[in-house]
Each structure stands twice: as structure tokens, then as C-alpha cells.
């Protein structure tokens, strides 16, 4: 099996889905001739033409609205937001419109759009090219929110998202796009990874860590360090934040008795709160220690200067330290 990067996996999913279903089309800023600023859509326009690989004007609300209108007509739009930071003008269309079409029409209309957006930092993107927006979308019923970590899952989940009959916010951590050690062997042909299923990527007994995106990889690395020190850490890749795979989370906590959540987004109001709350409510009896969150500091954006960016980012060392504390509780 060929070894692929996250970016290649995304691109491959798009190629295969566009070949499979002529209703699938891609739209966004610079997705056409330029192939996207991250090259996720490179080559698509050449194969599928300008109509199905559409360079839009710089207008995110329109990108979402056009995608929704086309979806209502039976198309399967994949709308790219150049950076998750710039999805904000489309918030009204995504949460008031896409997320509610089915419910508000009592199932008469639906809105199968995939909203793709590269998120996250650690790439010197500064305050406006590093945002994590998952919590902001995961809070709205009617949406699904997907945050894969590995190339295999990126491909399988993106395909599942495109085939899903409801709107999906598909978040791609931009630092993982070409990260060498995140490459993975993935099958060339068609396969699906179902939405809504977490994955225990490393089994362990002493504590459970829940993460996604770049932080999953950082947590995994920290877990290996702890393993070497004799502490067995279970690492769960959440993969989908909504619908959240509560069962896998709770099973893991019931096994280890200790829970840690790692995300790069600001701590306060971040998605970790929801996971912690679920654990605190539904696995209370099994907890041997407080639920611990490791997350970005509560500042309004990731600073650009390297020393500040490094200070912002949770990394394997910081995570390992928190693991040790939690294990020792």
C-alpha cells in the first residue's frame, strides 16, 4: 500500500468521490487553477473542469450559501474555507441554515454539504491563521463535526462526510497536512470510515487520554514517553466530535479511572469541557482522580513570534508532565 500524507489522503478522497458521483463538486477560494493554498484540490480542475471545481469570489457567506442552495437541489458540494479562521462570515449560513434545514422542514429538505476548513496552529500562522473552531460548531445540533488525525481516517472520513445526508464540518489540522511522521499506508481504492466512531489508538491501563488532530499525535508521543517510564496510557482518537462516541470514551475511563483531554484550542469554553462534563456525569463512580484538561492558554489568538507560539502550543513535554501528575494523583 502506498504511504500518504494527510494532504494526499484528503486529495485522494476528493478525486475518488468526484469520480464516483457527478453531483459532488468543490468550491472555494483558489481551489481551481491554484489547487488550493494548501494544494488539497490540486489537479481536480484539470480532471473535472471549471464547473465542478469552482474558484469563488472572496465571500465566505456566499461560499456556504451557494453550497447550501446547490445541496438542496441534490448536489453534493464540498465547500473549502481557506483557513478555519475565515469561516466566521459563514457562521449564519452554517448554523442557521445548513444545520436546520432538515429539522425546520420536518424532514422535507436536507442539506448534505461538507464544509472543509484547515484549522490549528504551530505553523507560524499567527492570530488569524491558527484558530481552532471545533467547539463553535460542535455545539449546534444538526451539524456533524469531524476532526481526523491520521491519513487513513482522513480519506475514509472525508468520503463518509461527502456521502452523509447531513451537513458536516470537516476540520483538517494544517500542521498534520505534510507532517512527515504522520504519513501512513492507505489503500488506493474506496473505503469508508464511519462518522461518529472514536478509535483507541493505543491501549493502556493507568489513564485515558482523549484528543484529536495534531494533539492526538502529541499525546501519543507523550504516552510513549510515559510507557517508557512504566506508566501505561490509553490514547483515544476521537475522530468525530459530533456525534461524539460517548461509549468508547466512557468505556476507556471505566477501565483506567483517570481521564485527560488534550486540545490546542483555548481551555475555557473549549470542546474539552463537554468531554469532561460527560465523564464527570456518567463515569463518576469510576473516577480515581479529577478529569484533567490540557489546552491552549486563554488568549485571543496564537501569537506569531516563535517564543510565544511555542508557549501557546501544548506539546509532548507539557502533556507528559500533566500525565505524570494525573497518574500520581
Amino acid at each position: 500500500m502506498p504511504v500518504k500524507t494527510v494532504l494526499e489522503a484528503v486529495r485522494e478522497a476528493l478525486f475518488e468521490e468526484m469520480r464516483r458521483d457527478e453531483n459532488v463538486f468543490v468550491l472555494g477560494e483558489d481551489v481551481g487553477q491554484r489547487g488550493g493554498v494548501f494544494r488539497a484540490t490540486e489537479g481536480l480542475q484539470k480532471e473535472f473542469g471549471e464547473l465542478r471545481v469552482l474558484d469563488t469570489p472572496l465571500a465566505e457567506s456566499a461560499i456556504a450559501g451557494v453550497a447550501i442552495g446547490a445541496a438542496v437541489r441534490g448536489m453534493r458540494p464540498v465547500a473549502e474555507f481557506q483557513f478555519a479562521d475565515f469561516i466566521h462570515p459563514a457562521v449564519e449560513q452554517i448554523i442557521d441554515e445548513a444545520a436546520r434545514f432538515r429539522y425546520r422542514s420536518n424532514n422535507a429538505f436536507s442539506c448534505p454539504v461538507v464544509f472543509r476548513a484547515p484549522y490549528g496552529g504551530g505553523v507560524q500562522g499567527g492570530m488569524y491563521h491558527s484558530q481552532s473552531v471545533e467547539a463553535m460548531f460542535a455545539m449546534w445540533p444538526g451539524l456533524k463535526v469531524v476532526t481526523p488525525s491520521f491519513p487513513y481516517d482522513y480519506k475514509g472520513l472525508l468520503k463518509a462526510a461527502i456521502r452523509d445526508n447531513d451537513p458536516v464540518v470537516f476540520l483538517e489540522h494544517k500542521k498534520t497536512y505534510n507532517f512527515p511522521s504522520i504519513k501512513q499506508e492507505i489503500p488506493a481504492g474506496d473505503y469508508i470510515v464511519p462518522l461518529g466512531k472514536a478509535n483507541v489508538v493505543k491501549e493502556g491501563t493507568k489513564l485515558s487520554v482523549f484528543a484529536y488532530g495534531m494533539m492526538l499525535h502529541q499525546s501519543l508521543q507523550a504516552a510513549r514517553t510515559l510507557e517508557a517510564e512504566g506508566t501505561s496510557v490509553e490514547v483515544v482518537d476521537l475522530r468525530t466530535l459530533r456525534p461524539l462516541d460517548k461509549e468508547t470514551i466512557l468505556n476507556s475511563v471505566r477501565k483506567t479511572g483517570r481521564a485527560m483531554i488534550v486540545h490546542e484550542a483555548n481551555l475555557f469554553g473549549g470542546f474539552g469541557g463537554e468531554i469532561a462534563a460527560i465523564i464527570a456525569e456518567e463515569a463518576f463512580e469510576w473516577l480515581d482522580a479529577p478529569v484533567r484538561r490540557v489546552a491552549g492558554p486563554d488568549v485571543p489568538g496564537m501569537p506569531f513570534a516563535l517564543p510565544l507560539e511555542e508557549e501557546f502550543m501544548p506539546n509532548p513535554a507539557k502533556i507528559a508532565q500533566a500525565m505524570r501528575q494525573l497518574a500520581a494523583y
Partner: protein
């Protein structure tokens, strides 16, 4: 609604397949040349309705559509005063614009993104008074939303009328997206969308018209300019006289029409439709009209406009105006008018009777249709 959805499931579209053959010519007799619809032609000897290719039956149907809308509208206000419905938002005064457009489009083939004031459009397109009333009274059978949305948040899959939401102007880019779908699919469906004058201030207006013009999409943008966004008069919403003049910014035709002149609205609607159907791109239509009622049952319009102003517009009523025209043309008698009124009233009575008796949605359904259910689209 379940069956509509199943249809959708089959063709992977939420909109049922068109029921009629594709015709580049819109409703009306064969052979009406394009020039016959051009404005200058209206100066000729034949009566205007004939020149527009309308039959007597068409006129009677349009007359009925005006009346049924007004009658239903008034009934709903009555129900509101009786405490039977919590919220009313009215189209009274704007019927001609809506009925004119409904006549120009191919129902079930073309696509419509209406707005909350589109009652007359909705009825003229074929939503039954009973269906409207079920929606107004938030009954389980409400085909627009199952009682989940406020009244006047229309939507009906069999008419290709896409579900309305409350946020103003969000439908505009969606309509552009529908137009884009037509372009990709290569079909000849025209997409229509309706919005108020206030809604044109929102960024969506700019983004939608820009997108539609870039791709020459078959979309007709209809602004029902009734002079106010709730209490804010158009003079505080913009610094120019005509919203239609904004079409210049998109290189598309912009047309101002007297929204209370049914035949003129129809003419403009048909031209915009034909242009779109021919693949020549979008049109912006501004219909100047007025709403008689407060913005909604939650509003009190005495705070921002005078009774005189309202009365003045009531004198320009689109329905009496059309009535007079039909009378002048000898197409209707006072008695015939009366019988149409009676028919409308009966339809509304029956709608009310049925809807009042219909069951409310049951609490146990609240969790349904957040997402597609097993095996559904």
C-alpha cells in the same frame, strides 16, 4: 411530507422531478413572440392582457389568487385577535407582486426561495389554504415545518418551494447556489428568490448578485420594496432611490416595477424568466409596493408611520385596481366578483375548519429529524 422525501431519496435530490415537459416558453398561448412582451408593444390597440398572452381564464385565476390571499390573510389576523394563533406576518398590499411572479414561473419545475411575506405567492403556486392554515396553526400535519417554525415560514417540496427561515436575506446566496446547480446539471430551471427592501442592506445581497452575475445564472432576484424594514424607512436604509439601480454593480438588468400593477409585474416577471431560461443570466426586479399591516402581530406601526400614509396606499390597492381593470375590460361583473369572493371565503372557512380540528404535534416527536433517520436521505 414523508413521501416527498422518498421521491427525493430516489433521484438524490430533495426536489421532486418536474412533472411537465420542459418548455422555453412560459405559461400562456403558443406563438407569443418575444417582442409582443416588450414594453413598447403595450401602446398598441389590443388589450394589454391579450398582448401579454394571457387568457381570460388566466385572468380569472389571477384574480382568485389575489382574493384568496387577502381573505386568508384577514382571517389569520382574526384568529390572532381571537387568541387562536400567536403570530401573524401579513402580505396584505403586496399580493399583485407575488401573484404576478407566480404566474410567470413553471410550478414544480422552477425553484422558488420565498420569504416570510410570500403568502400570496405560496397560494398562487398551489399550496392549498388548508396547508397554509395547518402551518399557521402549527399543527402536526403542517407541510412546511410540522409546527416547528413560526407561521409564514413556508416550504413545500412538491412545489419546489424551499423552506424559509427567519434570518433575513440568507435565501439569496442559496438561490444563487440553486442557479449554479442548474448550470452544472444543464437543466433549464429558473430559480426565483424574494426578499424585502431591508434585506438588500445585508451583505448577502451583494454576495448573491455578484455570484449570480459572474456565472450568468438563471436566477431572478425579486425585491418587494414596501418602504420599510419594520420601522426603518428606505431612506434610512440607503442613499439612492431605486434598489434596482444596484444591478449596475453586477452588470445585470435592474427593473423597477409598480408592484401593485399585476399585469406589469407579470410582464416583467416573464421577461426576467425568459432571459434566465435563455441562459442570459440573472435579473434584479424591484417591485414598489406597500404593506398595510404592522410588520407583524408583535409590531405597532403607529410608532413610525401615519394613518394617512397607510390610507393613501390603501387607495392604490392592487386588488381593487385589478378588479377595476377587469371590469373596464368587461371581463368580470359585480356578481362574478361576488361569487369569487364567496369561493375564497368558503375555501378559507374549510381550511380553518380542517386545521382547527387537526391534531397538534406531540411532544415525543421533538427529537425527530435532527439528522437523517436510518435508510433515509
Amino acid at each position: 411530507m414523508r413521501s416527498t422525501n422518498e421521491t427525493a431519496a430516489k433521484d438524490r435530490s430533495n426536489i421532486p422531478p418536474k412533472s411537465e415537459a420542459v418548455a422555453p416558453q412560459v405559461i400562456g398561448p403558443q406563438g407569443v413572440a418575444n417582442e409582443a412582451t416588450a414594453p413598447e408593444a403595450t401602446a398598441s390597440a389590443a388589450p394589454r392582457w391579450q398582448e401579454l398572452g394571457l387568457s381570460k381564464n388566466d385572468l380569472r385565476e389571477m384574480y382568485y389568487n389575489l382574493l384568496i390571499a387577502r381573505t386568508l390573510d384577514e382571517r389569520i389576523w382574526l384568529l390572532n385577535r381571537q387568541g387562536k394563533t400567536a403570530f401573524v406576518i401579513s402580505c396584505a398590499g403586496q399580493e399583485a407582486t407575488q401573484v404576478g411572479f407566480a404566474k410567470a414561473l413553471q410550478v414544480g419545475h422552477d425553484i422558488v426561495f420565498p420569504y416570510y411575506r410570500s403568502l400570496a405567492l405560496t397560494l398562487a403556486m398551489g399550496m392549498t389554504p388548508t396547508e397554509v392554515m395547518l402551518h399557521q396553526l402549527s399543527k402536526a400535519e403542517d407541510p412546511s415545518s410540522g409546527g416547528r417554525q413560526m407561521p409564514s415560514h413556508f416550504g413545500l417540496a412538491r412545489l419546489n418551494m424551499v423552506s424559509v427561515s427567519s434570518p433575513v436575506a440568507t435565501q439569496l446566496t442559496q438561490a444563487a447556489g440553486s442557479g449554479y446547480a442548474s448550470k452544472v446539471k444543464g437543466d433549464d430551471k429558473v430559480t426565483y428568490t424574494f426578499v424585502g427592501d431591508g434585506g438588500t442592506s445585508k451583505g448577502d445581497f451583494h454576495e448573491a448578485l455578484n455570484f449570480a452575475s459572474i456565472h450568468s445564472l438563471p436566477v431572478v432576484f425579486v425585491v418587494e420594496n414596501n418602504g420599510y424594514a419594520i420601522s426603518v424607512p428606505v431612506t434610512k436604509q440607503m442613499h439612492i432611490k431605486n434598489i434596482a439601480d444596484r444591478a449596475v454593480a453586477y452588470g445585470m438588468p435592474g427593473v423597477v416595477v409598480d408592484g401593485n400593477d399585476l399585469l406589469e409585474v407579470y410582464r416583467v416577471a416573464r421577461e426576467a424568466t425568459e432571459r434566465a431560461r435563455r441562459g442570459e443570466g440573472p435579473t434584479l426586479v424591484e417591485a414598489k409596493t406597500y404593506r398595510y399591516r404592522p410588520h407583524s402581530s408583535s409590531d405597532d406601526d403607529r410608532a413610525y408611520r401615519t394613518k394617512e400614509e397607510v390610507d393613501e396606499w390603501r387607495h392604490k390597492d392592487p386588488i381593487s385596481r385589478f378588479e377595476r381593470y377587469l371590469e373596464e375590460q368587461g371581463l368580470i361583473t359585480k356578481e362574478a366578483e361576488q361569487s369569487v369572493r364567496t369561493r375564497a371565503k368558503q375555501a378559507v372557512d374549510e381550511a380553518q375548519r380542517y386545521a382547527e380540528a387537526a391534531p397538534n404535534p406531540t411532544p415525543d416527536t421533538i427529537m425527530r429529524y435532527v439528522y437523517a433517520e436510518e435508510g433515509q436521505q
